[in-house]
């Protein structure tokens, strides 16, 4: 459903994404892991058609996002990591506007808006300007907006940031049901427990390249990690073992 072919992104001479190829089949929940600055967000933004790749291509359901953007994007729901929305629209107006961008209107949309606001417990806020929403509420609104047109693919950058435990649990359930019904989810996350618990397959990205990909069990096998947790595997693959030295830096607490 999502196919990346030799995807590359350069910022001047800096290689942010380096020749990535990846296939996420229909009905899969795929996780992208990696340290900060590894190129995950850049990759996801290229898939969503926000950034133009310097090389390679992105196919959504067989259509190139940059050659046939209108067809490809019709299948997509994108959830960014930072919830920037129009402050002077109300929650309901924002959802109606997004539905309009996908060519949808009328009673069906109104019902869908009511349904999504209900699910995310925003019904009592629907006629309030977004500027009054908290960070978490904005995030919930954006998630609702990504679902409003019933997409086939959801691309989501750091889905749990800003969500309370109840909303985080709800989102996990929504993603699981979405995938069970044949939808496809590609998400980037730093929360390794979330990735381990939810994702069918994961890819670990570092310095713009995929350094490992597969199910968590396959990764353990490939890297002879025994029954190590995904966190330990992640640290091993990304050289993050140095992070343990942090304990010495933060050791001031013993004074």
């Amino acid at each position: 459903m999502i196919k990346l072919e030799n995807l590359t992104k350069l910022y001047g001479s800096f290689v942010a994404v380096d020749d990535i190829s990846l296939h996420v089949p229909r009905g899969a929940l795929f996780g992208c892991l990696g340290p900060n600055g590894a190129g995950k967000t850049t990759t996801l933004r290229m898939i969503a058609g926000i950034l133009r790749p310097s090389g390679g291509r992105v196919l959504l359901g067989g259509d190139d996002v940059h050659q046939h953007p209108l067809v490809a994007k019709q299948r997509l729901g994108f959830i960014p990591d930072r919830p920037f929305v129009y402050d002077k629209l109300t929650g309901a107006e924002f959802l109606r506007f997004v539905a309009g961008l996908y060519g949808q209107e009328g009673e069906t949309v109104e019902r869908r808006i009511a349904e999504l606001l209900e699910v995310f417990e925003l019904t009592s806020w629907k006629d309030e300007l977004v500027e009054a929403y908290s960070h978490g509420m904005r995030q919930k609104l954006i998630i609702s907006s990504a679902l409003i047109h019933r997409p086939e693919v959801i691309v989501v950058d750091e889905p749990m940031v800003g969500l309370d435990p109840k909303a985080a649990r709800l989102l996990k359930d929504i993603f699981r049901q979405f995938v069970q019904k044949g939808g496809t989810v590609l998400m980037s996350t730093h929360t390794l427990e979330v990735a381990e618990a939810m994702c069918d397959r994961v890819a670990i990205i570092q310095h713009g390249k995929i350094v490992a990909a597969g199910t968590v069990a396959e990764l353990r096998q490939q890297h002879k990690a025994g029954d190590a947790s995904l966190e330990e595997l992640f640290l091993k693959l990304t050289g993050g073992a140095h992070a343990r030295e942090l304990a010495e830096v933060l050791g001031g607490g013993d004074r």
Partner: protein
């Protein structure tokens, strides 16, 4: 505990400014050259006009220095009024809404350092333009009075407290207001009050007809005129002290009192401002975190504009509705309409006040000429309006561009919506302005038709230029829409529009001149190939200025990366 220096507290600000400067330099010298040229041109024009006036004044016995002093007093008074208003608005951002406040307030920085740092920031942000404007004025006085190089240092010494005083007053007013209203409400309130006040000042200034001051024959006798000039506007106004200090120096009168008054008052005001800040800042800052608008139904627009736009595809319709709602819900945006209304009233008043309508009827030739030049002026007014409302529209989408780019919205539809949302009101205004002024001028039907058609074509082009340049020079990081038109891109847009207006008017004049001459000489009007050729040139210019900027803007938007 050792406190950080003021310089250290302001470090992020000046380092950011330095970095921006470096980036500008790295981006090529073109921008700097244009800015320097425009700035130098503006300075030269102000200097030239003032130099000629002051030279004339110097030649007038007794009255000369009085007139020069009065002129300086008026200029400084208007500077102080503008500064108080702009400081009130700037202080709201720097003291209560700035992004660095959470860090500074949570750090162990004492209240006095915070006050002085933020006062300095407010002063710099609100006063730089006025300070630059003062340079050619001071230079003209210095040159005409052969004051020598020391004068400029002395003038600087006089002007510094004149900048500090409005900054302290503006910050204090904001501090009190924020304690009464939540900061975001205060922002709304202030933008309306400030723009209303500015509009009132402009209107008042125009309606009292300052040009009469330049015509002493309008007064009953010379004594009345001199009495008016001699009387200080108010002995308690710092602008009056500054003007006296400068004029005394120029006339070689030794009198340190005005300078002492300026500096001691400024010092006392800073102390009083700091005391007020100590008492009220904490509660004001807490209040600034609160307050947002509550329930909005928004059905009005859906019923009116929504119904009207029913035949359009849903994406375009929703986009237009969204733009209209955002505009009318953002006080900083719609409140600019107050200034716009004043601009239009002053414009019509000027046409009405033209000496054409006094005494005996004026020749057809002059009426036609004025009506023609009116096209240029009206075009300029429209360009300023387009710079305010259409130019920022692409920039304002910046933070939400992730949504538009990840959705199947065609960027052409986005540009289309933005273009028409801006153009339709502009066109209505343009036609209203042109027909009203032409009615006031009592022009012939032919001239009326030419003006209306030309103005419609120009409006379409001006709106396209505003949108195109807005996309070419976007300001995605600016939170205040009112600041976008004063950016470099805004300047380039105004220059391009003035060039277009000039070219179209020159072409049209070639065509219309044949007509005017024929009527003037009592010959029958013949529409010949020459006339048609120049009409075609004007039309082609407008068409090119409409299509090319929109195409370039679209291409630029396609390349935006977020």
């Amino acid at each position: 505990m050792k406190q950080p220096s003021l310089w250290h507290v302001l470090q992020p600000k000046w380092r950011t400014a330095l970095q921006r400067l470096r980036e500008e330099r790295a981006g090529g010298g073109g921008k700097l050259v244009i800015l320097t040229l425009v700035g130098a041109g503006f300075w030269a024009a102000v200097f030239g006009i003032l130099y000629a006036m002051l030279r004339y004044f110097r030649g007038v016995e007794d009255l000369g220095p009085l007139l020069a002093g009065k002129l300086l007093g008026i200029a400084l008074l208007s500077f102080v009024s503008i500064l108080v208003l702009s400081n009130v608005i700037t202080a709201l951002s720097s003291f209560f809404l700035a992004k660095d406040l959470d860090l500074l307030v949570s750090a162990p920085v004492d209240w006095l350092r915070l006050y002085l740092a933020k006062l300095g920031e407010t002063l710099l942000h609100s006063s730089w333009m006025v300070a630059l404007m003062a340079v050619p004025i001071v230079a003209a006085y210095g040159v005409v009075y052969h004051a020598g190089p020391l004068f400029y240092g002395y003038a600087l010494l006089t002007l510094i407290p004149l900048l500090v005083l409005p900054a302290v007053v503006g910050s204090a007013v904001t501090l009190i207001l924020v304690n009464v209203f939540p900061a975001r409400r205060t922002r709304d309130l202030l933008s309306i009050v400030a723009l209303g006040a500015a509009a009132g000042v402009i209107l008042l200034f125009r309606l009292i007809r300052p040009e009469q001051l330049a015509r002493p024959e309008g007064f009953r006798n010379l004594l009345d005129f001199i009495t008016l000039l001699r009387a200080p506007t108010s002995p308690f106004l710092p602008s009056e002290w500054a003007s006296r200090a400068i004029m005394n120096y120029l006339r070689e009168i030794v009198d340190p009192l005005p300078l002492i008054l300026l500096w001691t008052t400024a010092g006392a005001f800073v102390v009083a401002g700091a005391a007020l800040h100590r008492g009220l800042f904490a509660s004001g800052y807490t209040k600034a975190q609160e307050g947002a608008e509550r329930f909005v139904r928004g059905v009005f627009w859906r019923w009116t504009v929504g119904t009207l736009l029913r035949p359009l595809p849903v994406a375009k319709r929703e986009f237009v509705l969204k733009d209209i709602k955002l505009f009318f819900r953002d006080t900083t945006q719609w409140s600019q309409l107050i200034l716009l209304a004043v601009l239009v009233v002053v414009y019509l008043f000027n046409i009405q006040a033209l000496p054409l309508h006094r005494g005996e009827p004026v020749g057809f030739f002059y009426v036609s000429l004025v009506s023609f030049l009116n096209l240029g002026l009206a075009g300029f007014v429209l360009a300023s309006i387009a710079a305010r409302f259409i130019f920022p529209s692409v920039s304002l989408e910046g933070r939400q561009m992730w949504l538009l780019r990840s959705s199947p919205l065609d960027l052409k539809a986005l540009l289309w919506s933005k273009y028409w949302v801006g153009t339709v009101p502009l066109l209505v205004l343009a036609l209203l302005l042109t027909s009203l002024t032409n009615l006031l001028l009592k022009v012939t039907p032919f001239m009326m038709a030419v003006s209306l058609i030309a103005m419609s074509a120009l409006t379409l082009a001006i709106a396209a230029l505003a949108l195109g340049f807005g996309a070419l020079y976007p300001q995605f990081e600016t939170e205040n829409a009112a600041q976008i038109p004063t950016s470099f891109g805004g300047l380039v847009f105004m220059m391009a529009t003035i060039t277009l207006l000039g070219a179209v008017i020159v072409s049209l004049w070639q065509a219309v001149y044949t007509y005017v001459r024929a009527v003037y000489e009592g010959r029958p009007v013949v529409v010949d190939a020459w006339m048609l050729f120049w009409f075609a040139v004007a039309a082609a210019l407008c068409a090119a200025a409409t299509v090319i900027p929109l195409r370039i803007g679209l291409r630029k938007m396609e390349s935006f990366e977020f």
